[in-house]
Symmetry: C2
Subunit: 335 residues, 2 copies
C-alpha cells in the first residue's frame, strides 16, 4: 500500500529520506537540517539566480510521470542560467504538496531530481515543504556561477545583429497536443520524440557558456519564439525580423506541419522549447558549423535586428517573397 | 472598479508597475526584465539562503490585509537569516496568483513589501509570477551576507550551555485565536498587540548578528518553542530542559493565561513567534542585560542543555518543584 505523506512521519522524514540525499554532501546545505543554506563564491565570480514555479494542471499535466515533472522543473530553471551563460552550481526547492499526494509520487519525484541533477552537476542545498489544499505547486530557485560582469542579457541586441536559434522549434507544443489526443504522429518514435521534448526539455548549458564574448544578447524560449524575441527587441530597443522558412524543425515536427501548415504556429509561438535565441554582430566571424558539430546541437540563423522604426520595438515574421505573416499569437500569456 | 489581473495588461504590466520599483535600482536585478538576477559577494563573505512558502488558508488567513501578508512573508524568511547571524541582502519572489485575485490586493501586497524591505534594508532582485487554479501561494527566497565560516547553526549546542530566548512567547498563537473569535482580550490595545504579533512578526536581525562568536547555536521559533528546541537538541545530540516558569510573556498574553492556565501551551507550542532561541556556554561571561537594553528587546534565560541520557535527544518542560510537565503538543506539524 502506498503511504500518504500525512501518515508517514511527516515533513522531516520525507526531507531526510528523499531530499537530504540530493545534497550529495554539499557542505553548504547543512544536510537540509538548518534554517538556511550557506554558499561561498569563488573569487571573480558572480551568482546568477533564477526562480520558476510549476503548478499542476497549469504547467504540467496531472498524469505526467513524477520523474519527468522533476526533470522539467530543474530544466526550465537551468535554461534561464544557460541564457545568461552561467554554470549551474546549486538549487533550492520549495514545494507545496496536496494532502492526498501519494508518497510514491514524492519518491519518484526525488529520484527524477537526483537523475537530472547528476546529469547537470548541481546539488540541492535548501528549501521548504508545506502542505496545500490546492494543486501541487513546485518552486525551484537555481544558482549559477558567472565571471563578474560577463553575464549575457537580453537587452543588448544591436542594429544589424544576426539572430540564431539552437535545436529545433515547436516539438514541445506539438508534444503537448499529442498528449492531449489532438495530434497523432504516424509512428511511435515520432510520438515519443515530441512528448519527450515537452516533458523533458534540455537546457542548453554548454552553448550558453560558449556564447559569452560571442553573442551580444541571449534569451531562452519558454513563452514562444516570437514572444521571447519580442522581449529581446523591447529590452534592446531594436526591431527584429524572423524568417519563417528558416525555423529549424525536427523530422517529426516537419512531418506534422507539412500535413497541416497551420501547425507551424507551434514553432513560432508554441513555447516550452527551452532553446536559446541569440544575437551576434554581423562582422563577428564565427564558425557556427564547428560549434554545432562540437556540441552536437543544430544552430540556425533565423533572422536579424534592425534600427527601431516606430515608437515601439517590433518583431516581424516574414514568409516567402518578403511578405509578412500575420501572427495572431506570439506565445504563452502567463495571465 | 478594481481591475482583475487577467484583464489588466497581464504579468508583465504587473511586474513593471508594482514589483520593478521594489528593486530600488539594485543593479543585479536587471530591472526584473531578464532571465535571472546577478549578485556579487564581497570578499570574505558567504551567502546564507533561505526559502519559505506561505499558502492562503494554511499560513495566513484569506482576510488578512495584503500588506500584513507581505510583511509576514518577508519577516519569516529574515527570521531564518537572523538565526544564522546573517545580514539581509536581497530576495526573490515567486508568486502563484489565483485568477480571480483583485488587482488592488496585488498593489497593496507590493506596497507592504516595499515598506517592509525599506525597514530591513533588502531589495527585490528577481522571481516569477504564475497563475494558479488553487489558493494563492507565495514563495520568498532571502539572501544574506555572513562572514565566511561564521554562520550560526542549530547543531552545536553543548552539554552545560545556558538557553536563552528573545522577546515574548505565545503572542502570535493567541493572536490567531483572537482573530478566529476564540479568545477575547479585555481591551483593544491587548487585542491589537496579539494580532499584530501574529500578522506582522519581527525578525531579530540585530540580535542574530550579535550572537556570532557568543552563542554556540541558535534557531528561530516558527513551529513552536519546544518543537524548535527539539530540532536543536536532536541536531546537537544533547538533552535540553526548559523551565515553564521562565517563559517570557507579554502583558496581554500574561492576562489571558492567568485566567486560563491551559493557554500557556501557546507559549511553548504555539509557534509563529519568530523569536530567537540560543545556547551560550555557561562559562562565557556576557552581559545580556546590557545587550537587551541596547536592542530594546527582552532576553530571558529559559533553560539549559545536558548530556544526552537516552538513545535520542529529548526536551523536557519543567514546572515548579522540578516536576516535568506532560506536553501533548510541542508545536506545529507541517503535515
Amino acid at each position: 500500500m502506498p503511504k500518504r505523506p500525512d501518515i508517514y512521519g511527516g515533513e522531516f522524514d520525507i526531507i531526510r529520506d528523499f531530499f537530504a540525499p540530493l545534497t550529495t554532501g554539499n557542505h553548504g546545505s547543512l544536510g537540509l537540517t538548518d534554517d538556511a543554506a550557506v554558499l561561498g563564491l569563488p573569487a571573480g565570480k558572480e551568482l546568477a539566480i533564477t526562480a520558476d514555479t510549476l503548478v499542476c494542471d497549469v504547467h504540467f499535466r496531472r498524469n505526467d510521470p513524477a520523474r519527468t515533472v522533476a526533470h522539467k522543473l530543474l530544466a526550465v530553471n537551468l535554461s534561464d542560467l544557460a541564457a545568461m551563460g552561467a554554470t549551474p552550481y546549486a538549487y533550492t526547492l520549495a514545494v507545496a504538496w496536496p494532502g492526498d499526494l501519494d508518497l510514491e509520487w514524492i519518491k519518484d519525484f526525488a529520484a527524477g531530481l537526483g537523475a537530472a541533477q547528476e546529469h547537470w552537476r548541481i546539488d540541492l542545498v535548501g528549501g521548504d515543504t508545506v502542505r496545500t489544499p490546492g494543486p501541487m505547486t513546485l518552486n525551484l530557485t537555481a544558482f549559477g556561477f558567472i565571471e563578474t560582469g560577463r553575464a549575457l542579457t537580453r537587452s543588448s541586441v544591436c542594429d544589424g545583429d544576426r539572430l540564431f536559434v539552437s535545436g529545433s522549434l515547436g516539438d514541445a507544443a506539438l508534444g503537448l497536443r499529442v498528449l492531449q489526443g489532438e495530434l497523432a504522429p504516424d509512428n511511435t518514435a515520432d510520438r515519443h520524440h515530441l512528448i519527450e521534448r515537452y516533458q523533458q526539455p534540455t537546457p542548453r548549458i554548454a552553448l550558453g557558456g560558449r556564447l559569452i564574448g560571442t553573442a551580444n544578447a541571449a534569451i531562452d524560449i519558454s513563452d514562444g519564439l516570437l514572444a521571447d524575441v519580442g522581449h529581446m527587441a523591447r529590452a534592446s530597443g531594436v526591431d527584429i525580423q524572423v524568417n519563417a522558412r528558416e525555423l529549424p524543425l525536427s523530422e517529426p515536427a516537419e512531418k506534422l506541419i507539412s500535413g497541416t501548415p497551420e501547425l507551424l504556429e507551434a514553432a513560432y509561438a508554441g513555447g516550452d522549447d527551452y532553446e536559446l535565441v541569440f544575437a551576434v554582430p554581423a562582422d563577428r566571424s564565427l564558425n557556427f558549423a564547428n560549434l554545432s558539430r562540437e556540441l552536437k546541437l543544430p544552430i540556425t540563423e533565423i533572422g536579424h535586428a534592425m534600427k527601431c522604426r516606430g515608437d515601439n520595438a517590433t518583431v516581424k515574421l516574414m514568409g516567402t517573397n518578403e511578405v509578412e505573416i500575420n501572427v495572431t499569437r506570439t506565445g504563452y500569456r502567463h495571465f
